[in-house]
């Protein structure tokens, strides 16, 4: 049953060795490819990804998402920012997957965040902008349940709400592309079997995602969102009119380019485009369990009573 030939120390030792090896490999690659880069400028265009048996790019593995965030210019202050963070990483057990040895060099100069509009000033509808500012002003103390920040009460994170200190895992089948979040144990099954979206009255926290391949790029169309998840701490909610298109393209062994187009006609007057990356995480790492409601004391602390009489 247990067959424990990997002790915790053995495991972290292995990880460290792997990390060092990856670092060494990355620096050799970086040095070796410099002249090439100067010579042809577009080395990455010649790289071809590994393939699944059905011929599509094989992106399976552990990834750390970086840069995909709705960081708007002139964002209103959120009272949460006053609390700051400890600056400490999570305990090791929760972030075994986000050790990305290539991260610093590979992600340098990659586009991140809002790329359209270029000035990062979002095309707010005035009434929607006013509504979120009203929300922010009632957050602390929260005037009622709906003013409690969604992530603090374990609402599924939507497409951008995940905590990127936690890794992601991709697994692929001939009929689906599956993006698993460690954060709040969300599983996005993106069907690539040609099926249509579910009926318009079905509304989902994570939306309904269908995908298709355009060459080596996976294009994911997501609709059927409810209006209970948001984009960021300063945009706590989007509307049920949200429609997103994501494009995932593996550009080298360590990077998946991630492009996200957001349309929400009840919030914004124009589409917004966001860019980010999935960076390869340490090989051999696994998603851990992120249980949320099971341990959270947020709501008891706010409301003065718990939900559960049990243990």
């Amino acid at each position: 049953m247990s067959g424990a030939n990997a002790s915790p120390t053995g495991r972290s030792h292995q990880l460290m060795i792997r990390t060092l090896l990856h670092l060494a490999a990355a620096s050799i690659l970086a040095t070796a490819s410099l002249p090439l880069l100067q010579a042809q400028n577009q080395t990455s265009a010649k790289w071809t990804p590994p393939r699944t048996p059905d011929g599509h790019p094989d992106m399976q593995g552990m990834w750390a998402r970086r840069g995909a965030a709705m960081a708007e210019a002139n964002a209103p202050k959120t009272p949460l920012s006053e609390f700051g963070t400890t600056g400490q990483p999570y305990p090791t057990v929760f972030n075994t997957g986000v050790i990305t040895s290539q991260e610093a060099s590979a992600l340098a100069n990659r586009p991140t965040g809002i790329i359209e509009p270029a000035n990062r000033v979002l095309p707010w509808r005035p009434e929607a902008d006013a509504a979120r500012r009203e929300f922010l002003s009632h957050m602390i103390p929260p005037a009622s349940l709906k003013y409690v920040e969604p992530q603090a009460r374990c609402v599924p994170p939507g497409l951008l709400g995940g905590d990127d200190r936690h890794p992601y895992q991709i697994t692929q089948t001939p009929k689906s592309f599956v993006l698993m979040y460690e954060y709040n144990h969300v599983t996005r099954v993106i069907y690539t079997d040609g099926r249509p979206h579910v009926g318009p009255n079905i509304r989902l926290y994570m939306g309904d995602s269908i995908g298709h391949w355009e060459g080596d790029t996976l294009v994911v169309d997501t609709t059927n969102f409810n209006d209970k998840t948001g984009f960021s701490q300063t945009i706590p909610y989007h509307s049920d009119a949200l429609h997103t298109v994501e494009r995932l393209t593996m550009i080298d062994p360590y990077i998946i380019d991630y492009q996200l187009t957001i349309e929400d006609s009840k919030l914004f007057t124009a589409p917004i485009r966001i860019a980010g990356s999935f960076a390869a995480a340490a090989k051999g790492s696994e998603l851990m369990e992120f249980a949320c409601a099971e341990g959270s004391q947020t709501l008891p602390n706010i409301f003065g009573f718990g939900l559960f009489q049990g243990q």
């Binding site: 049953m1 103390p141 698993m180 579910v198 249980a291 409601a293 939900l307 559960f308 009489q309 243990q311």
Partner: protein, 259 residues
Amino acid sequence: MSKRAVMSVAFWSFLLALPAWAQAPARGIPRAADGKPDFSGVWQVLSTAAWDLEDHNGALGVHAGQGVVEGGAIPYQPSALAKKKENFQRRDTNDPAEAACYLPGVPRATYMPFPFEIIQNPKLITMSYEFDHARRSIFTDGTPHPDGFPDFWVGDSRGRWEGDTLVVDVTNLDERTWLDHAGNHHSDALHVVERYTMTDPDHILYEATLEDSKVFTRPWKISMPLYRRTEKNVRILEYECVQYIQEQKYGNAKPLGGK
């Protein structure tokens, strides 16, 4: 008996015997590229095990059901049986999955009355459950249970193939889950071995053996079929129990320090 009747009996006996003859290995089941049975798809139980693993009568909101425990009764140690009875009395407020929407644990995740999807790859079999968007990763890459990990609400699952049967060894199970709504319970010593065997393209025989030296007098077994959801384009939707219960209990509540 006429000759015709004898022939008829022989004919029907032959037909009836066919299913037994056809067992192991099951014919006509879908297979993955690596030759293993392909469990990919959406599955769901049609049992009442989520309410009570043992024989039970109907009650308001509870479907009557015949038990799924081999031998009929769960072999509790005396003190553990007393706790089960206490749990039963308080089931409406104390069942972690029903009253607080906590992750259901293993094996309960399998027989919650909700569908789940199996996403199968040679080295990783993922089970994505509609209830609480629970997820299990079943590693079939030969790795052992990690040493020194904490307990998880859905445990740590390592799988292997025995012929056409997927055998999953589950440890690191959090002691706070219940096995059903009737208060059947376990400790942190629980060790579950699940067996998934496809008997035809649309049915999996699900068996689980539970071993817990702190609670039971011996290992015991449950079994039930899993049925493929064959509706066109069926997919896992969301049963976000945590959100529903928050809205129910805190929806009109006045926060401490609120205005």
